[in-house]
C-alpha cells in the first residue's frame, strides 16, 4: 500500500464515520417525528394540495367537485361586491388597529419601564384584556357596552352628549371592533417591556450628559435599539389581524352587518364555505388570503432593511 492509498482509506473511514454520526438517529427520529409527520401529510400538506385543487372547482360537498378553471378567482375580483367589501373592511381594520395598538403598547411600556413600584401588578392589569379578549364573553360584553343604551352612551349622557348606537351604525361599527383590538395591547406591551429592559441605561445617561432631551433620546436611541422588537410585534400583529374572526362574528351576530360594514375577510370566507356551502369559492378565498399575508409580510421584511437596526449590523 502506498502512502496515498493509506490516506485514501483513512479518509473513507473518517467520512463513513461522519456520515454515520450525522445520521446516527434516523430510527429514533422517525419515532419521535411520527405524530408530526402524520399531521404534516394528512392535515397540512395534503389538505393544501386539495384546497388548491378545489379552488378551481365548484364544490358544495353534496356533489363531486366540477372543474371551473379560474372562475372563482375572476368572480372574486370582477363581480363579487361583497368580496371587495370584505377586503376593504379587513384592510381598514388592519391599517387602523395595528399601528394604534402598537403605539399604545409602546407608550404604556415606556411608562412602566423605569422606576415604577408595583410593576408586576400593573403589568397584570394591562394584560387582563388580552388574556380574556379572544373569548365570546368579551365580544358579547363589547356589543352590549357600545350598544345604543350601553355603558359608553350612559357615561356620555352624563356629560350631556347624545351618542349613536355605535355597534348598529355602519359608520362606526368597524371602529368598535378596532377599539376592542386596541384594548388588547397587553402581549405587545410585554414584548416591548422585555425589549426596553435590554437597553443599557448607560446609553441614555451618556447622551443626557451630552445634552440630549428626552424626546431626542427617544427618537435617536430608544427607538432604533428597539426596532427589531417593533418589527417582530408588527409582523405578528399583521398576520393575526388579517385573520380576525370571533369579534366581528359575535358583534355582528354572524352577519357582518350593519350593511356589511364589519364583514371581515375570514367572516365572509366562513359564510361562503359553511353557510352557502360554496367550498370551491371559499378555498380560492383562502389562497388569496395566503398571498395577501405573504405579500404584506414580505413588504414589511423588505422595508425592515431601512428602519430595523441590529446591533451587529444585521449579520445574524
Amino acid at each position: 500500500m502506498t502512502t496515498s492509498q493509506v490516506s485514501q482509506a483513512r479518509i473513507e473511514r473518517v467520512t463513513t464515520r461522519r456520515v454515520k454520526r450525522r445520521y446516527a438517529h434516523n430510527g429514533a427520529a422517525l419515532l419521535f417525528l411520527a405524530p408530526w409527520l402524520v399531521g404534516l401529510l394528512f392535515l397540512t400538506l395534503g389538505p393544501m394540495l386539495v384546497s388548491l385543487y378545489i379552488s378551481f372547482t365548484d364544490y358544495s360537498i353534496l356533489a363531486a367537485p366540477s372543474w371551473v378553471g379560474l372562475d372563482n378567482y375572476t368572480t372574486m375580483f370582477t363581480s363579487d361586491k361583497l368580496f371587495t367589501q370584505s377586503l376593504k373592511v379587513t384592510f381598514t381594520y388592519v391599517a387602523v388597529s395595528v399601528p394604534v395598538k402598537l403605539i399604545f403598547a409602546l407608550l404604556v411600556a415606556l411608562l412602566l419601564n423605569k422606576g415604577i413600584r408595583g410593576l408586576g401588578i400593573y403589568r397584570t392589569v394591562y394584560y387582563i384584556p388580552t388574556l380574556l379578549g379572544g373569548s365570546v364573553a368579551i365580544a358579547m360584553l363589547w356589543r352590549k357596552m357600545l350598544g345604543g343604551d350601553g355603558l359608553l352612551n350612559s357615561v356620555l349622557a352624563m356629560v350631556g352628549i347624545k351618542a349613536p348606537d355605535w355597534v348598529a351604525n355602519p359608520k362606526y361599527a368597524l371602529y368598535s371592533i378596532v377599539l376592542l383590538s386596541v384594548w388588547q395591547f397587553g402581549s405587545s406591551m410585554i414584548i416591548f417591556l422585555a425589549g426596553l429592559k435590554q437597553i443599557p441605561p448607560e446609553y441614555d445617561e451618556a447622551s443626557a450628559v451630552d445634552g440630549a432631551g428626552p424626546l431626542r433620546r427617544f427618537f435617536y436611541i430608544t427607538l432604533p435599539i428597539l426596532s427589531p422588537v417593533i418589527f417582530f410585534n408588527l409582523v405578528m400583529q399583521l398576520i393575526t389581524s388579517f385573520q380576525s374572526f370571533t369579534q366581528a362574528f359575535v358583534i355582528s351576530n354572524g352577519s357582518g352587518g350593519p350593511v356589511n360594514s364589519t364583514l371581515m375577510y375570514s367572516l365572509y370566507l366562513y359564510k361562503k364555505g359553511f353557510s352557502f356551502f360554496q367550498m370551491g369559492y371559499a378555498s380560492a378565498m383562502a389562497w388569496v388570503l395566503v398571498i395577501l399575508i405573504g405579500v404584506f409580510t414580505l413588504l414589511v421584511f423588505r422595508s425592515s432593511k431601512l428602519w430595523v437596526h441590529y446591533e451587529d449590523g444585521g449579520k445574524s
Binding site: R21, Y23, H25, N26, A28, A29, F32, L33, P35, W36, V38, G39, L40, L43, T44, G46, P47, M48, V50, S51, I54, V108, G115, I116, T124, V125, I128, P129, L131, L132, G133, S135, V136, A137, I138, M140, L141, M145, G150, L151, S154, Q184, S187, I190, E205, A208, I239, Q243, F245, T246, V250, N253, Y270, G273, M279, S283, A286, W287, L289, V290
Partner: protein, 282 residues
C-alpha cells in the same frame, strides 16, 4: 434617571396616569362582573359597576342552562376538550421538538423548513379540506376534529418554541447519558422533559386558553347543543336573550372567564416569561 424627573411630583403623576389607564381598561370587566349581580332592568340604567344589592338569581338562572342543557354541560365539554388538546400538544410537540433539537437524521433541514413554513400558514387554507376529510371519517359533530390534530403536532408554533428551549440545555447531558447506555427515548423522558418544565408549562397554558376560546373550529364542527362548549353555549344565550334577560348571560360570561383567570394567576410567572421570550400572542 437624571435630575428633576425623579421629583415626587413626576412620580406621583406617573402613578396617577398609569392607574387611571388601568382603571379605564378594567372597567368593562368590572361592569360585567357587577352587572351579573344586578337585576336585569338595572343593568343598562346603572353605569357604576358596584351593584346596589347583590343577588345570585342571575347565576341560578344561567346555571340552569338553555334549551334543556344545563350550563355545567357546556363547562364539562370545554374542560374535556381543553384537557385533550393540552395533553396532545405537549406530548406530540415535545417529541417533534426533541428530534429537531437533539437528534441527527436524514432530511432534517427539509423537515425543519416545512415545520417553520406551517407556522406562517393561515389555517384557512387547510380548513375546508380538513372539514371534508373529517366529514368522510364521520367525525363531524364529535370532538375528534378538535383534539386529534393536537396529538399530531399541528400547532407547529409550540414545536418551534420547544426547539429553542431544548437547544439551550447542555449537550453534555445527552452525551453522559449515552455513555451510561441510555437511548434517545430514555434521554427524552428522563432528562429533557423534566428539565424543560418552563417550556412545557408555557405550551400548556396557551393551548388551554386558545382551545377554551377557540370559537371558530367549535362553531364549524359541533352541531348538537348537548355537545356545545362554553363559547357556543354563550352564543346561544346571546341569541335568545331578550332585553330584560341580560343578567344570566352576563353571569355565565363571568363564569366562562373564571378558568382563564385561575390559569393566569397560578401560572403568572411562566406566563410573562413565555410571552416575553417567545412572542406568543395572548
Amino acid at each position: 434617571m437624571i435630575g428633576q424627573r425623579n421629583s415626587t411630583a413626576w412620580v406621583v403623576s406617573k402613578h396617577v396616569l398609569i392607574s387611571g389607564i388601568a382603571f379605564v381598561m378594567l372597567y368593562p370587566i368590572l361592569w360585567m362582573l357587577g352587572s351579573s349581580f344586578k337585576p336585569g332592568h338595572m343593568i343598562f340604567t346603572e353605569t357604576w359597576f358596584w351593584p346596589q344589592e347583590w343577588n345570585w338569581q342571575n347565576y341560578m338562572n344561567g346555571w340552569s342552562g338553555i334549551q334543556g342543557n344545563p350550563f355545567s354541560r357546556f363547562l364539562t365539554n370545554s374542560v374535556v376538550l381543553s384537557l385533550g388538546a393540552v395533553l396532545g400538544n405537549v406530548i406530540s410537540c415535545s417529541m417533534a421538538a426533541y428530534a429537531f433539537a437533539r437528534l441527527n437524521f436524514r432530511f432534517k433541514a427539509i423537515c425543519f423548513g416545512l415545520m417553520l413554513m406551517t407556522i406562517m400558514l393561515p389555517h384557512h387554507v387547510t380548513l375546508i379540506p380538513q372539514y371534508i376529510l373529517f366529514n368522510h371519517l364521520e367525525w363531524v359533530n364529535t370532538y375528534l376534529p378538535l383534539v386529534v390534530p393536537k396529538w399530531l403536532a399541528t400547532d407547529a408554533f409550540f414545536i418551534f418554541l420547544m426547539v429553542q428551549f431544548f437547544r439551550g440545555l447542555p449537550k453534555e447531558l445527552d452525551e453522559a447519558a449515552t455513555i451510561d447506555g441510555c437511548g434517545p427515548v430514555k434521554i427524552y423522558t428522563q432528562i429533557i422533559i423534566p428539565l424543560a418544565f418552563p417550556a412545557l408549562v408555557t405550551t400548556m397554558i396557551f393551548t388551554f386558553l386558545w382551545t377554551w376560546d377557540d370559537f371558530f373550529s367549535q362553531l364549524i364542527y359541533l352541531s348538537d347543543v348537548s355537545k356545545y362548549t362554553v363559547p357556543l353555549g354563550l352564543r346561544l344565550f346571546l341569541d335568545s336573550s331578550s332585553q330584560s334577560d341580560w343578567g344570566p348571560t352576563f353571569a355565565m360570561s363571568v363564569l366562562s372567564l373564571v378558568p382563564c383567570f385561575i390559569v393566569f394567576i397560578v401560572c403568572q410567572k411562566y406566563f410573562v416569561e413565555g410571552i416575553a421570550t417567545s412572542g406568543l400572542k395572548g
